[in-house]
């Protein structure tokens, strides 16, 4: 029996239509009856996916030069501020950016409007220079008038995430949704056994240059995500039991589909962007076969009290429990609700499987692997805070 497979061998099989591709949910089910050795022999690639709100997202836009030209030093798109420190007509619009007077419409909505082909009002100001004499411009743009339109998300697809509850007497509004008082609900956000980074917890196949499904087209993992943390406590299956590593991703927004990117506004919190990400995991050896075999009863996460300062941990639960609809914390039964879409994640895993089956999608060996043993610093304050 073959002990290992190479990327080249798997790609040849994909090209000839002979590769066997399963989703991570399908392989988790298969693993209840098959050994990792069997899985290595029978399966070539496993597709994973997630569709959740990812705040650290945004788009690079090049507007093109007007005549006479302007060096844009203050930029607004439908009133939303964009970054102005990138040459004359390059900009970056962050998903969470917004005009404080109109907090429910932000950068994510601008990205979505452009993606849907709508006109967006660009207004920009400059001081006027010898080579860029113009001081003001106000014009409508849309996806076909701009040059590059590139999704670049510095921190996406968290490897696991906390469950949020609220032990206080007041309802609170968070990026994990509305948390009712007295532990009356609990929200969780990853797609469990289908989640990309939970199927390759040691980053053996995901690294710099990994080709992925991003927003409905092919994109890439371009760097470790910000707050990339590999030193969080892990359980007996090697899976971190709270939010740990992340990835930075990039792709051509002009090829993406509004079906897999969705702007969101959380009342009393702010704007975010739902991003659809799918990552194919090649089954290179028994170790990878074992990794993709994990199921929801083996993936655990921490329950944190978002109502109390320092978000203390109240317990630890599995995704089987979370998906069953109730968890138990300190003897109290708490109703659970997801805040990311498992049905969309399944659709993405299925779509990626189709691309692979049709030979439209090549798997890539990372150009460079991600660092190990990273941890996080918090922000130390050196000045007296007079607020």
């Amino acid at each position: 029996m073959q002990k290992t497979k190479t990327y080249e061998e798997i790609n040849l099989k994909l090209k000839s239509g002979k590769a066997v591709i399963l989703t991570a949910e399908e392989v988790a089910k298969m693993a209840l009856e098959c050994s990792p050795e069997d899985i290595l022999e029978k399966v070539d690639v496993v597709t994973t996916a997630t569709f959740g709100a990812m705040c650290s997202s945004g788009a690079i836009i090049n507007f093109g030069h007007a005549s006479p030209p302007i060096r844009m030093e203050k930029i607004r798109l439908n009133g939303v501020p964009c970054y102005e420190g990138l040459a004359a007509v390059d900009s970056y619009i962050g998903a969470t950016a917004c005009d404080p007077d109109n907090p429910s419409y932000g950068g994510a909505h601008v990205i979505q409007d452009l993606l849907e082909g709508k006109d967006v009002l660009l207004e920009a100001w400059g001081k006027g220079t010898d080579c860029y004499p113009r001081k003001h411009i106000r014009t409508k743009i849309n996806i076909s008038t701009i040059n590059e339109f590139t999704l670049f998300n510095p921190r996406n697809a968290y490897q696991n995430y906390n469950v949020a509850v609220n032990s206080t007497k007041k309802m609170i509004h968070t990026y994990m949704g509305t948390l009712l008082p007295n532990l009356r609900n609990a929200t969780y956000s990853t797609s469990g056994e289908l989640s990309p980074l939970l199927n390759d917890p040691g980053f053996r196949t995901i690294g710099l240059g990994t080709r992925i499904f991003l927003g409905g087209t092919q994109g890439f993992v371009v760097w470790p995500g910000t707050q990339f943390n590999t030193s969080k406590p892990k359980n007996e299956y090697g899976i971190p039991v709270s939010n740990s590593a992340t990835i930075a991703v990039m792709g051509n927004l002009k090829e993406m589909s509004p079906e897999y990117l969705q702007a969101a506004y959380y009342d009393k919190y702010g704007v975010s962007l739902f991003v659809g990400i799918g990552i194919p995991i090649p089954i290179l050896d028994v170790e990878m076969a074992r990794r993709v075999s994990v199921n929801n009863s083996q993936i655990e996460t921490s329950v944190l009290d978002y109502g109390t300062e320092g978000t203390p941990k109240l317990g630890q639960v599995t995704y089987s429990e979370l998906q069953s609809g109730t968890i138990k914390i300190g003897g109290q039964k708490i109703r659970t609700a997801p805040v990311s879409s498992l049905s969309k994640a399944r659709k993405i895993a299925g779509e990626l499987k189709k691309w692979l089956q049709n030979g439209d999608f090549e798997i890539t060996k990372p150009v460079q692997m991600f660092p190990k043993n990273t941890s996080l610093k918090s922000l130390k304050e050196t000045e007296a805070d007079n607020d």
């Binding site: 569709f51 959740g52 509305t178 009393k268 109703r335 997801p338 879409s341």
Partner: protein, 136 residues
Amino acid sequence: MIKKRFILNFPPDSGDKPFSYHLVKDYDIRINILKAEVYPGKRGSLLLELQGKKDNIEKGVEYLNKQNIICESLDKRIHFKEEKCIDCGNCTAVCFAGSLTMNRDSWKLEFDKEKCVVCELCIPACPLHLFEIDFR
């Protein structure tokens, strides 16, 4: 037979009148209590669904008004733009009436209108703002 929803507001001194007995016996109205917030000695409110003949319900409401119970007809219904829903589940987190739930096989949102008590918590909870109140 019609069904109508009402919010009943009780002044502090009317908490123990057997109004439901009269509605059932004198006006042949079926009562379904959807939500109750009755604080002894203080104001209280009830969200009710009354089912019966149209003129009987009208007479029943008249009777309640005479008892000093303020009876506000609730022609509000929650409605959501289903075609835009991404099945994220945020609204199910706040719907303690069990009207909004996730189907545990398909993980698609299910909306059982009958269970809705019009608490309106889902309106701000949906990050896509798909819920609206219909006034009918």
